[in-house]
Amino acid sequence: MRCARGLHKLASVLISMLALPVIADEVAPQHTAGREVYLKWCAPCHAPGITHPGTHALMTKYQGVKSGVLLEWTDLPAGTIKYTVRHGISVMPQFRKTEISDAELDALARYMSRNTPQP
């Protein structure tokens, strides 16, 4: 499977925040807010490794054609992220605005699609 090692490592550090105090790491200032939303709501299922059910599901679906880790995707438009968060997919439920507000969802979509060329 293709795997951007740097990103992989970054994501591992971010994930460890679930269990540890916040660790400062490099992220473009415009993505700080989006990354926070990602860590809180997405990382528990979408961080690297099969212990994260979202990642395992995507690894299985794409069979090595692309990474199971969403943060490594380079073809993930902001609109797809917003739609999926608000509609859910498979066993992933939709998220309410009291959980992820529209402004937070905008920031999240910008962060997660930062490696995707804009149309």
């Binding site: 460890s16 679930l18 269990a19 540890l20 105090p21 916040v22 809180k40 528990p44 299922c45 490794g49 099969i50 212990t51 994260h52 059910p53 979202g54 395992h56 599901a57 299985t60 679906k61 608000r86 509609h87 859910g88 498979s90 066993v91 992933m92 439920p93 939709q94 998220f95 309410r96 605005k97 009291t98 959980e99």
Partner: protein, 550 residues
Amino acid sequence: MRVPPGVSPDDFSSSLTEFRRVVGDDWVFTSDEDLNLYRDAYSPFLNEPEERVASGAVAPASTEEVQQIVRIANRYRIPLYTISTGKNLGYGGSAPAYSGSVVLDLKRMNRILEVNEANAYALVEPGVSYFDLYRHIQERKLKVWIDCPDPGWGSVIGNAIDRGGGYTMANYRNHFDSHCGMEVVLPSGELLRTGMGAIPQSQTWQQYKSGCGPWVDGIFSQSNFGIVTKMGFWLMPQPEAYLRCAVSLQRYADLGPLVETLNYLENSRITQGFPDISSPLLGYGPIGQIQLFFERGPGKTSPEQQTLVSEAKLGFSPQLEAYALKSGTPYWEVLLSYYGPMEVIEAQWRATQRHFSRIHDAKFRIVDRVMLPLDPAKIESYHEPEFGVPSLRAFSIGARAPWNPTPSKGHMWFSPIIPRTGDAIIEANRVFGEAARQLDMPLFRTFTLPACFWERSFIFILATPVTEDPATNRHYREGFKKLIEIGGQHGWGEYRTAPVFQQAVMDVYSFNNHALRGFHETLKDAIDPNGILSAGRYAIWPKHLREKQS
């Protein structure tokens, strides 16, 4: 605009205006797009007309706002339905029990009001998730553990008042039992504090549970008598060490003595962690390792073993037992865990071995022996909740995986309480195995072992998938109701269920012509005469809707 049943559009419109005045325009939801976010993602009525949906949603940020909303709802007779984090997936999610209710979404009430390390307790609001409380404790380096269920994004309060469970020591695993003190907004809008909280300036609200006089906390769980806006919980002091051990038994008939010995040891607090019974021979793994099963697929067994297991009846045949003895594959295994100072838990393990040694050929091994806290880098090699660490790993159940190419849309849990005996395990397998075959329900493997969340009883958990096909879902719903009825005929009842099955489950609790239901209804009429709060939750209906349900 959707309108709740029995409410005029004008009244609804006026109530929404008043709700907006209380919480602000951003926190009242009425569009289809916003209200679809309140659908039960795992609804067994997915995309069918009977799916229970909201007519509106309102999200207060404080107890005072909750009180004002309740008073407005009384004025216009608006049916409200309370959720805390809305993540009770498999048990109804964020959708109302009475379709058309306005969801009272407490997610914004997310303050952790106190974590007391010296006496190990916390006071939280309903929007606080297990992740939130865990992070709060970690950031402050407090030496206390939470007890969490498998999915960590649920509400600490919501899970407790739906009477959920976790995985650490017995006195913390039962989340309702481990609470201490509540603040409740009554359906009138009046504010109540229970236990020692009823004393103004109380200094022991989270330190003594019952106060004086009738202890009413229980009526606010699995009910619709009030809105819990604060709740205290006893936390577990961070233990010094952890020991996980396995006891393996070789014969089918050892199941009864296994349970008897386990009961003595657990009820005596010689073992205190989550006991996990499995059968390596029958291919039924420990519940605490279910994520490994879903992540890696079923373990490898020899073709001979597979054939013998498939031909066994209720998990037994003389040939299968002979294979077990010949191959050294344990028939039964129980994983036991111990928390505390190493010298204490090693002594407890020695006592455990002495008691199990009365079973012929019992074998013992230490699976893990670690000092705590665990290295965070290693936590994923464990079942996180057994260390009070929340995760979402349990969503591997049903998710796409190499051995599960067609993921389900969700699941619903059939989970009756059965006695803690070996005989009851076999009887439940016989009864529900037979029923599953007759009803064509895909919930049975060769043999099912129960979960030991609670002391003194078992939960016999079976998962039923939710699909995207209404005909299949209808078939499963009907089968599910039949299983509830069959359980009731054997004296077994569910500990908890999704709103769509609450009526069927409560029908089973029918002693003396449904005296318990009658008492619930008497309470409902007295406490909530306008019937505005969470109509239908656990089959408690207000008077004006009661006849329609029967």
